[in-house]
């Protein structure tokens, strides 16, 4: 198999990763962010599988497949956890998109009278 395909797959994986990361950063809707993470993940897996075919033998390298499988399992768990958490957040804040203003630390609000102490 010629290298061009490799490079194509690699670029595609990298692109997925980048897109995922970008939307993770800019999106505020929780679900979108979760999906963004999954997109990133797929990018990584794609790269993995591509590299598995590094050896120009008939049979591909099994180790990456194992790793990808593990990775997918982890990703699934992660998505599950994220969804659960998102649900709780929505319940607590009855919002689905978390803005990044006063996040937890209430900097802006407390800061002023805090400094009296």
């Amino acid at each position: 198999m010629p290298d061009t395909d490799h490079r194509l797959y690699l670029v595609a994986g990298a692109a997925l990763f980048a897109i995922g990361f970008y939307s993770l950063v800019v999106q505020t809707h929780l679900l979108r962010r979760i999906m963004a993470l999954n997109v990133m993940g797929s990018g990584v897996f794609l790269v993995f599988l591509t590299l598995a075919d590094r050896t120009t033998g008939s049979v591909a390298d099994p180790v990456p497949h194992a790793m990808v499988l593990t990775g997918i399992v982890v990703a699934v768990c992660a998505t599950g956890l994220a969804l659960a958490l998102a649900d709780r957040v929505q319940a607590a804040t009855n919002k689905v998109d978390v803005d990044d203003g006063p996040d937890g630390s209430q900097d802006a609000t407390d800061a002023k009278e805090a400094r009296r102490g």
Binding site: F21, Y22, L24, V25, V26, T28, D100, G101, P102, D103, D107, A108, A111, K112, R115, R116, G117
Partner: protein, 583 residues
């Protein structure tokens, strides 16, 4: 050295100290108060009977002897102890109805201890210890009366006394380092150390009321109770003199600078004393000024000694005679103030008059008095001086004597017991000690070594005339002054206030506002008082603003987009670094 002698020495210094300490015990206080005069007796005995060269070593204090009785010391101890004895005796009557007798006697005894201690000191630390003790304790005497005048006088006295002691200590250390020993007797085999000379001149000059350093004296001496002023003006003032005699290398090296300083300062003091003294209205102030001029005259003697080492042995005798004479006479005059005021009956008045007149004449140097003797002793040695100075002194000393006469006249004028004066002052127990001292004045000097050698020159007629004309001249001046006084009324002491220079300095200080008024910030929470619940911010306002800026910046930094960008930047940064390293 025999233990007896050493015991005597220790007793002379120890007795007053012991009594001072006993004062602390309430129970024994009244006993001590009665016995105060006795404190000086051991010293007196020692002065009369003690063997010269006797010394006392206190092993637990230092290995070398600390107290020693030598010829000079003996003379000083003599008149000093007499003065202390008499004043103590006198004080018993004088303080009969005083508010805090115990306090007075405490300082009195401590000062006495110091005085005897410094006279008998064999090594430098002991001398300085005595000197310091005396200086500080006598401050207590000056403060005693507690009124505004006394307080002011005490302040100024204390300031100068401290200055003096510091200068002296420093000077002494220089001396010790140069001489390589602390034993006074051996000090001067070392080289003469200039700084020491300078510091000691100034330091002892303060005590001795030398010109420009004298101004505390006319304030302090009158402010103190009479018996105290007697010892201040008679005995303690001589400590400065003794200091010079002991620590200036007199008779060993020619010290032109030192000599001329002493001469000029002495003469200056002599005439300034007269000038300001006659203007005073308080008899004790007049006496104080006369002390200044008298000490001035003595300083000229020292000056001669400093200029002409070969002259010192003779000079020393003269100086000692003069010192003794002045101490006793001045003491007698001070003590006389009390009785003179209290003289009611005619007999008392006559007695008081005579009693005042005799020492006054003596001071003025009337023929056949100790004063005449002392003055002759001094004048006899003018010959040692270079021409110019000899001439000058030959003229100036008699004039100074005339000035003394003038002051004495002024003093007698102010204190002369007049009929019909009604003062509350009772004189019970004052007469005896006073008259005793007057007698001592007449007799005392003749006991001194070398006095009788001077005597024969004294009997020659021209000497008598030498002694007499200043007296007459002074008398004439006095009469003139009294006559002028008819037309000119008004208080001269206004324009020439007591403590001449001191007043100026005070004004200067006042101008400088050194004593800043203390701002009354509230300091209640210094006790166990509790604080208000809310406390001010620990940070300064500027820091607070910095903090706000920081936290807002941090908030920005922590927003997703910024961090995401930074994240990628970091990754890129590392990539670049790695690549640059690799290629």
């Amino acid at each position: 050295m025999s233990d007896l002698a050493s015991l005597q020495l220790q007793l002379a210094v120890g007795a007053p100290l012991a009594m001072a300490l006993l004062l602390a015990v309430r129970a024994w206080r009244h006993v001590v108060l009665r016995g105060v005069p006795l404190a000086a007796v051991p010293a007196l005995l020692l002065a009369l009977a003690g063997p010269v060269g006797a010394n006392a070593a206190l092993p637990w204090l230092a290995e070398h002897p600390v107290l020693e009785l030598d010829a000079i010391g003996r003379v000083f101890l003599g008149f000093t102890s007499v003065l202390w004895l008499v004043s103590g005796w006198y004080a018993r009557g004088y303080l009969a109805n005083d508010a805090h007798p115990a306090r007075f006697y405490l300082f009195f005894l401590l000062a006495m201890t110091g005085n005897f201690g410094l006279v008998l000191a064999a090594d430098v630390p002991t001398f300085y210890a005595g000197f310091g003790l005396m200086g500080l304790a006598s401050a207590g005497l000056v403060f005693h009366r507690g009124d505004a005048e006394a307080t002011r006088a005490g302040r100024i006295y204390l300031a100068l006394a401290m200055l003096g002691e510091v200068l002296i200590l420093t000077g002494l250390v220089f001396l010790v380092v140069a001489g390589g020993t602390t034993q006074i007797a051996e000090l001067h085999h070392g080289v003469v150390s200039r700084p020491a000379l300078l510091l000691l001149l100034a330091g002892f000059g303060i005590k001795a009321g030398g010109l420009t350093l004298h101004f505390w004296l006319p304030l302090a001496h009158p402010a103190a109770p009479v018996p105290a002023s007697a010892v201040l003006s008679g005995a303690m003032i001589k400590a400065g003199l003794l200091g010079w005699i002991r620590f200036l290398p007199l008779g060993e090296a020619t010290l032109p600078g030192c000599g001329f300083t002493l001469l000029s300062a002495g003469l200056g003091a002599a005439f300034l004393g007269t000038l300001v003294g006659v203007a005073q209205t308080n008899p004790k102030t007049v006496l104080a000024y006369s002390s200044i001029s008298q000490m001035g005259i003595i300083m000229t003697g020292l000056g001669i000694g400093a200029l002409r080492p070969e002259a010192w042995p003779v000079m020393q005798t003269a100086v000692l005679i003069y010192a003794t004479h002045h101490a006793l006479a001045k003491g007698a005059l001070f003590l006389g103030v009390g009785p003179a005021h209290a003289a009611h009956t005619r007999r008392q008045r006559i007695l008081a008059g005579v009693g005042l007149l005799l020492p006054a004449l003596a001071l003025a140097g009337a023929p056949f008095t100790s004063g005449a003797l002392a003055k002759t002793g001094l004048k006899a040695n003018i010959g040692f001086l270079p021409e110019g100075w000899a001439m000058a002194l030959a003229i100036l000393l008699p004039l100074a004597a005339a000035g003394t006469t003038l002051k004495m006249a002024r003093f007698l004028w102010l204190t002369w017991p007049r009929s019909g004066q009604t003062t509350v002052a009772t004189a019970r127990g004052l007469w005896l000690p006073w008259l005793f001292l007057v007698a001592a004045t007449l007799a005392g000097v003749w006991l001194l070594p070398g006095a009788l050698e001077v005597l024969p020159q004294k009997l020659s007629p021209e000497k008598v005339w030498d002694a007499l004309w200043p007296l007459l001249f002074g008398g004439a001046l006095a009469a003139l002054g009294a006559w002028l006084r008819r037309w000119f009324s008004g208080d001269l002491s206004r324009c020439l206030p007591a403590g001449d220079m001191g007043v100026l300095i005070e004004r200067l200080l006042a101008r400088l506002h050194l004593h800043r008024p203390v701002k009354d910030t509230v300091h209640h929470n210094h006790g166990h008082g509790l604080s208000p619940a809310h406390e001010a911010s620990p940070w300064s306002p500027r820091l607070e603003r910095a903090g706000e800026f920081l936290t807002t910046l941090e908030a920005r930094l922590r927003s997703w987009p910024v961090t995401g960008a930074l994240w990628l930047l970091l990754v890129g940064l590392f990539l670049v670094l790695l690549a640059r390293a690799g290629s």
